[in-house]
């Protein structure tokens, strides 16, 4: 897998791009995490909290329960890191945990929405200031809400975080063929949803013209 040379994992503003190895020794960090040493947990948190929060918000479409979900991710990572063989894969491992938790949360929210217990989704504090853009983003997430959780997670990694297909498959915890199938399904479904939503259609077309 090709890796970026960026020394700091979170130095890429707003994009994951690839899953680069950190310049700091991951082996020492992993050993500390396996021993659940507080310093190692603190170092893990400091190094990856930005990545975790960013992928969570972009996947879920809002920042509700963000702090709780962030904690859940780190708890899961620390508990399961003894199963990690390659210390350089820690970042990819964290992304896969984030996506698993986000997918579970999406499924829970879908059920709550189905039975009328879930309030209207919204980005909250993350919403853009421009009213027209904010409206477009709302419709975009409304369409994403109608994708299945796997397709949505694959979409976030591939098209928002900018991972290649192999990295997307690794992050989603599935094979390359499966992730391709998820993405194709997402594309088809999303295109159909966009055709039926004139606000979203206009938003996408306007952005396409600027491409």
């Amino acid at each position: 897998m090709q890796r970026a040379t960026t020394p700091q994992p979170d130095s890429l503003p707003g994009r994951l791009l690839m899953l680069p190895a950190s310049a700091t020794p991951e082996r020492a960090l992993l050993d500390g995490l396996i021993a659940q040493h507080p310093n190692a947990v603190a170092a893990l948190y400091d190094r990856y909290v930005g990545l975790v929060r960013r992928v969570l918000v972009r996947t879920l479409g809002n920042d509700r329960d963000l702090d709780d979900l962030t904690q859940d991710v780190f708890i899961t990572v620390v508990r399961r890191c003894p199963t990690l063989r390659d210390p350089d894969a820690l970042r990819s491992f964290i992304v896969s945990v984030v996506l698993r938790i986000a997918r579970n949360e999406l499924r829970k929210r879908a059920i709550r929405r189905l039975v009328g217990l879930e309030e209207t989704s919204g980005l909250g504090a993350s919403m853009p200031h421009d009213a027209a853009v904010a409206q477009g983003i709302r419709h975009l997430y409304s369409a994403l809400d109608r994708l299945d959780a796997n397709s949505r997670a694959a979409f976030i990694l591939r098209h928002v975080e900018g991972c290649n297909l192999a990295e997307t498959a690794a992050g989603c915890g599935c094979s390359l063929a499966t992730v391709k199938r998820w993405l194709a399904r997402a594309e088809k479904r999303f295109a159909a949803l966009a055709r039926g939503d004139h606000v979203l259609r206009e938003f996408l077309d306007s952005a396409r013209e600027q491409s």
Binding site: V115, A125, S211
Partner: protein, 423 residues
């Protein structure tokens, strides 16, 4: 090349969804994580049992609700004086002088003021989502146990359970005003760290376009002056922009509430002498009175920049333009090169718009002194409009083109496009 929709969607999310990458209290969160890890080792077994029970409940309860929810359809709505059947996403905008109602089948009602722009974007069996793009509305929502109502105003979301409130959103200034008459609402949006609950007889004012957020005053300030119509840019003014301006201090906390006591006296911080604090609470008259009591000339020489800015805002809000000008000018002369001095130039421009040439000069000073300031889109937009008003078509056209390049989706982008097409 035609980009697939999903690729475009990904780019839009990357560009427009701001992510709070670190929690406000990262140190506390980190400590809580370590503590939770330490405690959780002993509770793993308990959690497994609980998970099985929760899973069983998660299947049983939603099934029950599903059967209940599926038996009901979404509410419908009618629009305007003729009560035409409403369509989702359709544009609703009463003409000048007309008040239109959006009447929902559950008894709820959204009364739009003239020239407001709104759409009903979603209906559900237990509520609806209304988008107020610009203007004012009176919202009356009938309370039911599972009501799910929300009104989206620009970047803000007002969640409603059953209440009556006035809502105003000025798309130009990105200013939201919510005045609750009965019940409670919850406001979320940029710059509001956690949802703000507003209860009866409270007014919430917030400005999205600036890092500062303005305060909340008592509901008696909620009325909108008819003199707002006919602002220099020709845009229908649906809220009093002056009263919506936040104090120009970076210390202002987001979303403050002030509740009047039953006798109409302010109950919070009434004893405070800081003008900045009084101004944040909406006690503009008290600020002006204190300045006069102390002696204006003395105050202008000795007050802090924060207090002088607060005095400028307060005086402007109560119509004492002479005092406001003096305060802003004092900031500029005493605190040269400060952020407050630049902001004072902007507000001097706003006060002098009846003399476009002078206002343009002040706006240009603000732009020069604070090139990335919070009011830049406003200052450049107002300058552009004033240039057109003063008949300098060439300069106005240049300003409009420059505005569109810099702020293609800014508050004055619509006006700028009209001007570039017109000229």
């Amino acid at each position: 090349m035609t980009w697939p929709d999903l690729q475009i969607a990904g780019r839009l999310l990357r560009e427009h969804v701001a992510v709070p990458e670190r929690p406000a209290s990262a140190v506390t969160a980190r400590a809580a994580l370590i503590e939770r890890l330490t405690r959780s080792r002993a509770r793993v077994h308990t959690w497994r049992v609980a998970s099985v029970l929760a899973a069983a409940l998660a299947i049983a309860v939603p099934l029950g609700w599903l059967l209940h929810a599926s038996s009901r359809g979404s509410i419908s709505f009618k629009v305007g004086p003729e009560g035409r059947a409403g369509q989702l996403g359709a544009y609703v905008s009463p003409p000048a002088g007309a008040h239109w109602d959006i009447a929902f089948s559950d008894g709820s009602r959204v009364a739009l003021q003239p020239l407001s722009h709104a759409r009903v974007t979603r209906t559900m069996p237990n509520g609806a989502e209304v988008l107020l793009e610009n203007g004012q509305a009176r919202v009356d929502v009938v309370h039911r146990p599972t009501t799910s109502w929300s009104v989206v105003a620009g970047p803000y979301t007002v969640r409603v359970t059953g209440t009556s409130f006035d809502l105003s959103f000025d798309a130009r200034t990105q200013t939201l005003e919510v005045t609750v008459h009965a019940g409670a609402v919850r406001v979320e949006g940029p710059g509001i760290d956690s949802p703000v609950e507003i209860r009866g007889a409270q007014q919430f004012v917030h400005h999205a376009g600036s890092p500062e957020a303005s305060s909340v005053a008592d509901a008696r300030r909620a009325s909108v002056s008819p003199t707002d119509v006919g602002k220099p840019d020709g845009h229908p003014a649906n809220a009093e922009p002056d009263t919506a301006d936040p104090p120009e201090s970076s210390e202002v906390p987001a979303g403050r509430l002030l509740t009047p006591d039953p006798n109409g006296r302010r109950t919070a911080a009434a004893q405070e002498t800081s003008w900045a604090e009084l101004s944040r609470q909406g006690s503009y008259g008290a600020v002006v009175a204190q300045a006069e009591k102390r002696g204006l000339s003395q105050a202008l020489k000795s007050a802090s920049a924060n207090d002088l800015m607060a005095l400028g805002h307060a005086a402007r809000f109560v119509g004492r333009k002479d005092m406001a000008s003096s305060a802003y000018l004092a900031v500029r002369s005493r605190f040269t090169s400060s952020a407050d001095a630049a902001a004072a130039a902007f507000f001097l421009g706003r006060m002098l718009e009846s003399s476009p040439a002078q206002a343009v000069i002040w706006y240009e000073r603000y732009v020069a002194e604070a090139p990335s300031g919070a009011w830049i889109p406003e200052a450049l937009g107002r300058r552009m409009v004033l240039l057109r008003k003063s008949g300098d078509e060439k300069a106005a056209l240049e300003a409009a083109r420059a505005y569109l390049v810099r702020f293609p989706r800014g508050p004055y982008a619509g006006v700028a496009r009209e001007m570039t097409a017109e000229f």
